[in-house]
Symmetry: C2
Subunit: 230 residues, 2 copies
Amino acid sequence: MVARSERLLTLLQTLRRYRRPVTGTVLAEETGVSLRTLYRDIASLQAQGAMIEGEAGIGYVLKPGFMLPPMMFSEEELEALVLGSRWVARAAEPRLANAGADALAKIAAVLPPDLRDMVDSATLFVGRKRQDEDKADVSAIRKAIRLERVLELHYGDEQGRISRRRIWPFALGYFEHVRIIMAWCELRQDFRHFRTDRIIDMTIHDARYPRRRTVLLKEWRDTQDTPIEH
Amino acid sequence: MVARSERLLTLLQTLRRYRRPVTGTVLAEETGVSLRTLYRDIASLQAQGAMIEGEAGIGYVLKPGFMLPPMMFSEEELEALVLGSRWVARAAEPRLANAGADALAKIAAVLPPDLRDMVDSATLFVGRKRQDEDKADVSAIRKAIRLERVLELHYGDEQGRISRRRIWPFALGYFEHVRIIMAWCELRQDFRHFRTDRIIDMTIHDARYPRRRTVLLKEWRDTQDTPIEH
DNA sequence: ACGCTACTGCCATAAACTGTCAGCAGGAGG
DNA sequence: CCTCCTGCTGACAGTTTATGGCAGTAGCGT
């Protein structure tokens, strides 16, 4: 049942062990299969995206890199990967940054639609490492964003004035040592951001807010002078 | 030839579309296959690590998350993923940080040995985003590290004194706005770090340095008071 | 008790895979 | 130019595997 796919993985491993070109005959012997079948296996791997180069008179070479087998990631792990790749794409040297952007694009390409917009709304800012502890339940905020739920906040602003607001959160950002919720504020009828460490109390309403998170995100981006994405 | 694996992916997609439990009969119809075969397909997916839960009288539910199909990553893309995951593991909120560490472990687990030590030596520090432009060819440095080659530097120190050194580079780090090479310095017979923006000129020698990069890395870690890895 | 459903074993049939043989094409070396 | 080595494709038969239908067991909810 899994004989074939296992053999393909073995073939990749074998191919990676050699640095020099390897002839199909050798590969056929090592994988315990006929030459004809090996050619078909190579074709299968190439069809699946493996960067195998074959030249007549030379042999096969696997371009440097690695093929990840099918892997299960939880939603949070996926978010961590996306977030990390994006950070690399912004913060690293140009060459590595490009690699980060490519990796991100590859992952996003195979994501189903309902997870793909997480790539957009995962985070927008990047900052330093230390995080202050605050009482706001970040996973609850994340959940509210995912489910497009109205969030009611008791919020203290810069002058210490406490207000009560209903907001439509659509993204969560990291900036310096605080987390920031990007949201539409029902009170101000405009986009506002809220520092999670200034949240005194919060409630997630059952009601969905009347607009799509992705639309809010896009409109918010359009209001920005300097686009966040390159 | 790929009919089966494609069907399994379709099955995952279908399973993810529903939020509620779905009966096997429905899934069999949607994937165009008999009920018996569907049970076998489910078993295959579970064997490959998919978190599918089936309960008699209820149906099937896919636990939140996503199964990545086999994907080809270049060495640099892989490095970007590793680097990004590590950053998330260190810098993000605890919950996301754990997810980052988990994702990193999952990837490292399936990496062949020759790529796995890249997980260790990829980078050690994390800093802010802006990078100064400097003339040192970072990819060349990376290559010297990978091949364990002696690197000869014309290097200007803090006081502006120019020295010439042969070093054994074993890791490349990011710290604040500069990149730093971690290396064994032949001149000082000790571990030293070198800012890439202070490199005036450099040459990669053909000679390999006489020790293993991973050993140097481990020894250097042992000399640190505060361990870098958690 | 009843209906619904997940799950397993069995078996005949259909489909895919595999190996052998044959032939073509392109690079390396004489 | 020729020869050798190698990648690559097609055709065919033998083998393996996947599939579907059937029967039966067990768990969950009403």
